[in-house]
Symmetry: C3
Subunit: 265 residues, 3 copies
């Protein structure tokens, strides 16, 4: 993980403006579309069973998010996921609220088994619930530390041969063997709904422009965290945080990325 | 109604972070989730018939809002409401647009009769439409004053043994006998979509942490109004109003609450 | 096109507060409701097949937007459109993403043929796709200039006897014969999701208060563009752009409209 590598990935997004197809939840659709626009990608939200195959057909990445899941939407996610596999375009999956209800556990498992996502991103409770269905989640909020979910993440990554991202105060990215730790970010991010979903959506843009999945995930979470730090420095609360996040993401520069690394080390 | 009582309720929300389960409308989901986070609660939005029972099973309050109702969602609301009754967790119901169409009147009646909400909150037209189905609402906007709806509110509260809140320039809270008048707030709040729905969602957090339903409703509407005043003092229009509202709600202090009371008296 | 005419239309919206019924997409519902409130109109979002007839029955304009279309919603749009025709209230149609999938092309054609919209507004790719179904759209983003879509727009306007608006860096409004060019706006608008949908929604307010459809469309796009310029002058990025847009729209004055014309000429 170094500033140069991250900046290059960011520049590739801005240059190529990849079409990222999102089948996501009602709460965050506006935010995630805006975050994808701010970073330079081209978002599209489409969920009709009649068209998801076609939309995946022109997309560079597919983002599946089960935040406000229901039967019809899940079917669309599966159809879109299978088409993405056929076309060999990457999938990022966000198991929002896994552990909160039996239905969420069932659907998360079904999506993972059918669609083989390249990246799974969740909070600690969600990632643990994907491995141990006895694990409980408080609605969509985590009740455990990211560190404690690391073994579950590694197991999951090995089992499904994918990248698993646990996000929280500190993020962990693993391919089952390697583990990268991203310690950027600010606690104000938890006070804005859909920040996790925004991370997932942005990973779609990074993975669409970087063949190295592990690097793409690390780059994405780093950009997310640094942007969160920059925005929180300007914010007076969660309302202005949300606004500054988009402004900062839009303007994020190589110098800012380098400076963030200097501050940490 | 006094500042101390309100601050205590607010502190209880911040300390306990109650899980508030919302089955609400598409327009306001993001705002209401953010308002609940800003006040210190833990919001979850989930509507699938397959999971609402389970989600109510871990929630501390249920918020039902029929803003963008449709058949499937109404069924989920009923299922969730019945489960909330079983678990004896409180329900806040928002009859958005009651009076605008026959369907809305029918569904509002059905939800009230089946789910027995602890609090019903609406604007004056909506509350009157629940009593007199000849009453007309202009879309989702009220066409009458809150004062004129007070008799309807009292009747409704007695009939269903619940608290009824009429919100508007002045809010009225009644249990059918007592009436409390809350005169905080600012006209700019009407220019931001979903401010009424935000009040309803916040009532979910207050009622989850206060066994006295009447007090909880008064406290919630007071916090809503004071926050609106603080935000409007900083706002240049409805866009910045929405942002400042979340920032002010997040930071709302005992001193600010006390000062607001001083200004009124 | 002159400042006086535009200001008069704006004043008519603020004075009459027309009820604009929107059946629109999940991504932009909040923004478009807020934009309609900011300009002085009264928005309502309702899509249940059981009630759209009744809601159209009290509305002054109907806005149909197929951004996140699905079978049930399309049926509701058709029902609402037919009722609007019966009542002779104007329809504005936004063929979001036409050209991206075969399903979108099919539905756009079906809505236009069944509902006979008074105004069709889209970006260049979308307008061209309505005429030439071989035309491709990149998700919901245009890949061609507005100028190049002008012939398609004229053809479409003549064929369906309606007004067609192509929006982009420069907007074109045509009734099939006349063409008006609106060159206000700012490139930051493209970085905020749903700005096109917001234009469509605002056209609903203009057309509800102006019997001259062509003028209403020109006025609406001019107000949209001038507001975008004013907002972008204050914005630091797409997040603050969205906020300032609503604030500026709320406050937009005759003087500001006049000054914008002076700057252009």
């Amino acid at each position: 993980m170094n500033p140069k590598m991250i900046t290059e990935n960011l520049e590739a997004i801005r240059k190529n403006s990849p079409l990222v197809h999102n089948i996501t939840n009602y709460v965050v659709m506006n935010n995630t579309a805006n975050a994808l626009l701010a970073i330079g990608a081209s978002p599209v939200m489409a969920h009709a069973q009649e068209e998801v195959k076609d939309m995946v057909g022109i997309a560079s990445a597919l983002v599946l998010n089960m935040g406000t899941l229901s039967k019809e939407w899940v079917e669309s996610m599966i159809i879109a996921g299978l088409r993405a596999n056929e076309r060999k375009i990457p999938i990022v999956f966000d198991p929002v609220g896994a552990g909160a209800t039996a239905y969420r556990n069932e659907i998360a498992t079904r999506i993972i088994n059918n669609c083989n996502p390249e990246i799974i991103r969740g909070n600690a409770s969600e990632i643990m619930a994907l491995v141990n269905q006895e694990m409980k989640t408080k609605g969509v909020d985590s009740v455990v530390s990211t560190k404690s979910a690391l073994d579950s993440a590694k197991y999951l990554a090995q089992l499904h041969e994918c990248i698993v991202v646990i996000s929280g105060e500190v993020d962990y990215i693993t391919d089952g063997n390697r583990v990268e730790r991203v310690a950027f970010g600010n606690s104000m991010m938890e006070k804005v709904t859909g920040m996790g979903c925004t991370a997932t959506a942005l990973l779609g843009a990074f993975i669409a422009t970087n063949d190295n999945l592990f690097e793409a995930a690390v780059n994405g979470m780093t950009v997310m965290g640094i942007t969160g730090e920059l925005a929180s420095a300007k914010a007076n609360g969660p309302g202005s945080m949300q606004m500054h996040f988009l402004d900062c993401l839009y303007k994020l520069s190589e110098v800012e990325i380098e400076q963030a690394f200097c501050t940490v080390e």
